[in-house]
Symmetry: D2
Subunit: 146 residues, 4 copies
C-alpha cells in the first residue's frame, strides 16, 4: 500500500483498500462507508500539515466537528479496489473550514463530497478560532491548490 | 422500544436506540452512523407500504441505489438516546425519488438530510421505472404528508 | 418489530432486523456485525433489569468492559432477516460476568457466543464490585434460567 | 504509514491507524472493530503470498468464511494509535485454517485472537480443498514462523 504523499503543488491523497467489512450485499462499498474513507484522509492530511489529533486536543484544546456534508455517488467502488481519497481545503473562516474531497479509482471519480467542519473548544464545544499555526498551514494549502 | 408506526396523516418514524457501537471518542454518535439510522428508517417505511427488500428484488427485480445525499448535523445524539428517524418522500420521478429525513430526540431535530435514490434493475443496474404498485403507494404517501 | 420481552422463566431476547449496512459482498451478515447485535441485546437486557447506561455511569460510577469473547458462526444471517438475539448470564463473580448469547432466526441458531465482561470503576478503570442492586437482579436472572 | 512487510523469518504485520470511526464513547477502540483490523491484516497477508480476493474467487472459485474466533482484550487501543496487526497461520487442514493474530502498539499486545476459517466453493458454499498453490504457500509460511 502506498504511503500518503503530497509533492509540492499536488492535492493530498490517501490510499484506501476496500475489504469485505466496507461492502454490502449489493456487492459494492456501502454508502456510509465512503464518509469513513473521507475522514481517514482528512486526518492524514492534518498529520501531514504537522498536526495530529493529540496535538489539537492537548496543545490547542480544539477538535473538529462536522457541521454538514453533501456527497454524490457516481460509480460504485467494489471489493479489493485500491482507492485514492483526496482532500482539498476550499474555504477557511475564523472557525469554519470546507473541504472538497474525491474518492478515485485510478483516474475515475467514484464519489465526490463537500464537507463543512467547525473548530470547537474541547471544553466549551463552541466555535473557536483555528490555532494560528494551523490557520497558516491551511491557508498556504488553499493557496497552492488550483 | 416502540414499534414503527404511521397513523393516518402522520410522517413515518422509526425509533432507534444509540449504543456504544454508534458513538465515538468524542462522546457522541459518529457522523457516518446517522446515515445508517436513515437507511434503517427508509427500509421500514418501505415495509410499512407493503414492500420489503425481497419482494423488490425477486418480484419486481429492482433495488434502490443512493445517488447523492446532503446532511446537516445540528445537535449531537449521545449514548443511550432514544431517537426517532423520520422518512418523508418529497419527489418522485420515473425512476428517482428524494426523501426528506430527520433524526429527532423528543421534539428536537438533531440532524436533517435529503437523500436522492434511484430505482435500478437488478441485472442491468441501470435506472428502471418504479414498479407500478410501489409508485402508487409512494405517490399516495407524498400526497398525504404536509 | 416486536418489543424485547422476557416473560417469567424465559430467556431475554432482542429482535434485530438485518439491513444492507450489516451485510457484506458475500451476501451475508459480516462477521463482526454479530458482535454489535450481541451488544445491543446485552444493553436492552440490562435496561429490562432496571439499569440503563446512564444510571450505571452516574449513580453507580461503573461501566462494563469486554475482557474476551468467543463466537461460532453456524449458519449465515442474510439481508432482511428478523433475528432474535438472546442474553443469558451464566457466571457472576465479584466484578466479572459471563454471558451466553445466541443469534436465532426463528428457531435456528445462526451464531452462539460466550462473552466475558468485567465491571470497572469509571475513574479508576480497574475492576470494581458490581453495584449491590445489580448483583441481586443478575443473580436472580441466573437462577431463573435453565 | 509503513507498508506491510514480512522480511524472511518474520511474522506478517499490517499497520493500522485508529480514527474516530473506530472508537466509542468509552474513549477506546470499540470491541468489534478489532475484528475488522484482523480481517484487513489477513487479506493483506494473502496478497503478500500472491493471492488476492479476485484471484481466489475467479481463478480458484473459493472464498474464506469465518467458522469461529476467540479474542482477548488485554489493553485498550485509543484514538490516533498506530497499531500493528499480525497474522500467523498455525493450523492447516484440507479446507480449514487457523490464524493466531495480535494487535500491537509498539511491543505491547493489546489484543490477541485465534480465528478459524474454512475455504468454501463460491457456488456450493461447501468446504472445498485449498487451491494447491495456496496450500504450498501457506504451508511454507507455517513452517517459517516460530
Amino acid at each position: 500500500m502506498d504511503s500518503p504523499s503530497s509533492p509540492p503543488g499536488t492535492i493530498f491523497t490517501l490510499p484506501v483498500r476496500v475489504y469485505y467489512q466496507d461492502t454490502d450485499a449489493g456487492g459494492v462499498v456501502y454508502h456510509s462507508t465512503y464518509l469513513d474513507f473521507l475522514e481517514r484522509a482528512r486526518y492524514e492530511w492534518l498529520r501531514e500539515l504537522g498536526f495530529d489529533i493529540h496535538s489539537l486536543i492537548q496543545t490547542y484544546k480544539v477538535i473538529f466537528m462536522i457541521r454538514s456534508l453533501d456527497i454524490e455517488y457516481l460509480k460504485p467502488a467494489v471489493l479489493d479496489d485500491l482507492l485514492h481519497v483526496s482532500v482539498q481545503p476550499v474555504e477557511l473562516g475564523r472557525s469554519r473550514i470546507a473541504f472538497a474531497q474525491q474518492v478515485l479509482r485510478d483516474s475515475i471519480v467514484l464519489a465526490r463530497a463537500t464537507v463543512h467542519a467547525v473548530c470547537v473548544g474541547t471544553e466549551s464545544l463552541k466555535p473557536a478560532s483555528f490555532p494560528v499555526p494551523l490557520r497558516h498551514r491551511i491557508g498556504h494549502a488553499i493557496g497552492k491548490h488550483p
